[in-house]
Symmetry: C2
Subunit: 135 residues, 2 copies
């Protein structure tokens, strides 16, 4: 039997550290499609995963639309050959961007190492030139 577990809006808000407003906004945009029990939204595990993926995308600077596009790559809306080639092309482009971003991050990490080294050296010099109990 399929996973029938459901989540309320505040369940998900708490879990992901976002506001209910944010989740409603995502629904407005069609990013999630909870069903209703009366008025109240009932989210499925699939919705939960989509939110997770959206937040992951956002962490590396993707817009919501880009997040959706990315997620949609997984869904098999690609029946014919035309669409498959188009999808493969999208995948390639996306990968290029991700690799560039990874390079950017590595560069920045290297920069941070350097800064930290300078800081520690500077601190060490301070201690050196200051009197301490051993003097």
């Amino acid at each position: 039997m399929p996973d029938k577990r459901t989540y309320t809006i505040s369940d998900l808000a708490k879990e992901f550290g976002i506001t209910t407003r944010t989740i409603r906004f995502y629904e407005e945009k069609g990013l999630v499609t909870p069903r209703r029990e009366g008025q109240k939204r009932l989210f499925t595990p699939a919705d939960r995963v989509r939110i997770k993926l959206i937040l992951r995308g956002k962490r590396i600077g993707m817009t919501l639309q880009e997040c959706v596009d990315f997620i949609d790559m997984y869904d098999p809306e690609h029946n014919n050959e035309e669409q498959l080639h188009s999808l493969i092309n999208d995948v390639k482009q996306r990968r290029e961007r991700l690799l560039q971003q990874k390079k950017d991050i590595d560069d920045m990490l290297a920069g941070l190492e350097e800064v930290q080294g300078l800081c520690e050296a500077s601190l060490a010099r301070n201690y050196e030139s200051l009197p301490n109990e051993q003097d």
Copy 2:
């Protein structure tokens, strides 16, 4: 002698594929500080580097303010011990975020591999089931 080369606004705009409006906006925000020759802006190599760093930051989703904060880590406005410790702390937090982003990217890259594999398999199946000249 120091590098006296200068750049016009459109030099930099062209080089980085951004508009002059963007560069003026960055000046407005204090991200670059070109001197003037009459009315015209003259950018130094240092300005050029700052723009480069800003664009790098933006590629991984940093806000302009975060870009500035990041760049400022390199500048020695940190004289006393207090500031040095604070800076080291900032460096640590920033590194954590970068590592998380790197992980996100790796996950997404893995996802793309998967999608591409499925696409190619699907295409192969299509060719298999279609008649060709060899038949």
